[in-house]
Structures are given as C-alpha cells and as structure tokens.
Symmetry: C3
C-alpha cells in the first residue's frame, strides 16, 4: 500500500464497510441481529470488530479509539459487561460513550479506529 492510498472494504452504494488510509482503519458497527437487547447487541458488535480486525491483519491490541453510542445511557452496565470481557488488558483503546437517538431496535452503535501496518 502506498503511503497515501485509500483502501476500501465492502464498498456498497451508500457507504464502505471500512476505509484504510495512512496506517489507520476507520469503520462503524451496529449489531447484525437487532432484535436482541443491549448486552447481546454489544457482544455481537465486539465479535464483528474481531472479524474485521482479522480481515485487516490487525487485532484487538491495535485498536486506537472506540466511540460508543447507546440508545439509552442507562444501559451502560450492559455495555460494560460485554466490553470488560472483551477488551485486552494493558492495550485498551480510548473509549467515549454517550447516549444518542438510534433508530429502533438498534441499541448500540460503535465508531472504531485501529492501527494497520
């Protein structure tokens, strides 16, 4: 990859699933199955992040930032339950978590950046 090239993964008409530029990957995740509650949606998203990291040749320890939107900020304990079981000790990303208006039944959305060699 040349220094300034852009690599897009899963480029559909409306958005790309992921964009890599200058050793940084950017993407967004919502749960594939949204009939479930916040805990399950958060777990799904974290599994989806793992799958994306494999595709990138990266891993959980190379995450830079995760910005979490919760449909209800009172669901923070459920998010943390999924998160704490998943986040790699000593290599946690920066994390922000705020409540936002998400289209039901979506309960969680995450915006992610990771380092890519």
């Amino acid at each position: 990859m040349s220094r300034n090239s852009i690599v897009r993964y899963g480029s559909a008409a409306r958005w790309s699933d992921m964009v890599v530029h200058h050793h940084t990957a950017y993407w967004v995740e919502v749960a594939a199955r949204q009939e479930a509650g916040t805990l399950d949606q958060a777990r799904q998203i974290l599994e989806q992040i793992d799958a994306t990291l494999v595709e990138l040749g990266s891993d959980r320890e190379r995450l830079l930032t995760v910005l979490v939107y919760l449909a209800d900020p009172a669901d923070l304990p459920q998010l943390n339950e999924a998160w704490d079981a998943w986040v790699p000790a000593g290599h946690a990303p920066v994390r922000a978590c705020v409540g936002a208006l998400l289209p039901p039944p979506c309960r969680v959305e995450m915006v992610i950046t990771a380092a890519v060699d």
Copy 2:
C-alpha cells in the same frame, strides 16, 4: 507540507474551518441556510463538502469518514435521498448516522475526514 506540520483553513477566533495534518483533513459542516428542511440542509452540506474538497485539492472519492448527526433520526430517508445522489459509486466513505440534539433550526451536522496528498 512537512510531515508533521498542521495547516489550518479559515481560522476564526473560536474554531478553524478545517485542519490538515499528516495527509488527513478534518472538518465540520452545517448548512449555511438553516431555514430549510432536512433534505435541503443535507444537500447544502454536501455541496459545501464539495467546495471544501476543491480547496483541499481533494475530491469526493478521497473521503474517509462522514459522521452524520440528525436532529431527528426519523429524517434518515431525507438524508439518504441527498446522500445517494451525491456519494461516488465504488468510493463511498465510512458513514455513521445518529440522532443528536442540535440547536434549532439546525437539522443536520456532519463531521468529515478526507485524504489529502
């Protein structure tokens, strides 16, 4: 531009209109004319993004991420109508879209990153 320099465009007292660092441009757009509805505000913002990209020597196909805030997430169809007519096929950025509390009459706000050579 040296590797670590920062270039600021439109630096007013409170914020800069755009900042470029390390081959990445960062900026925020709200519609210049906010008396209009969501569809028209979205179209204005996308035109404003085009103008900014020209100033940067970049273009729509070099967008990395667009984070969209909608005053009412029920306006997603209007956003998509403007977006789908504008986004370049095969080169779409990553996109997130959530509802947030925007100061009326603002209906749409976008946070953008693009690659710059």
Copy 3:
C-alpha cells in the same frame, strides 16, 4: 517511536486515557469534579486538556479536532465562555458541538485529537 507503533497512556482495564499513533494523539475528557455546572465542567476539561498536552510534549496550538457533547445544547453559551478564554488565537482546532445524553451529573464530554511530533 517507530512509525507504526502505538503508545498508550494510563492504560486501565476498561480504557486507556490516551493513545498515540502515527503522530496523532486521541483522547476523551470529562470533568474530574462533576458536581459543578456546565461552565465549571468545561473549564475543568480544558485545564485537563492542557495537562494532557504537557504530558504529550504538545500544546494547545497543536490541537486538531475537539468534538464536544453537551448534556443540554442550551448550555452552549457556557461552553463558549470557557472555550473562548482558552482557545489559542490563530490556531483553533476544528470544533463540533452537539447535544447528547450524558450520565448525570456529567454536563460536558470532549473527544480530542492533537498532533504529536
């Protein structure tokens, strides 16, 4: 620091206080003392940003972006009062500010990026 290395500051179990990658620092701030109102919380956060910038060997003039979440967007004047007294003339970052649901008594949260040599 090698080009693609990641440096984490304050890595706790749940998150890192700050992550630096590729000459860019990423972090999140909420006020340490949240019993205060929006103006005081905003001032605290800006002081905390200064402290972080010192730790990074950076400074206010090297900020790239600040994304501000307010619990009540009607508090924008208080945010601006703190901000305008703090932001460096001619070197302001890009700034976005939207209302989001923050866990009480948190009134302000900021997501920050800065350039690091």
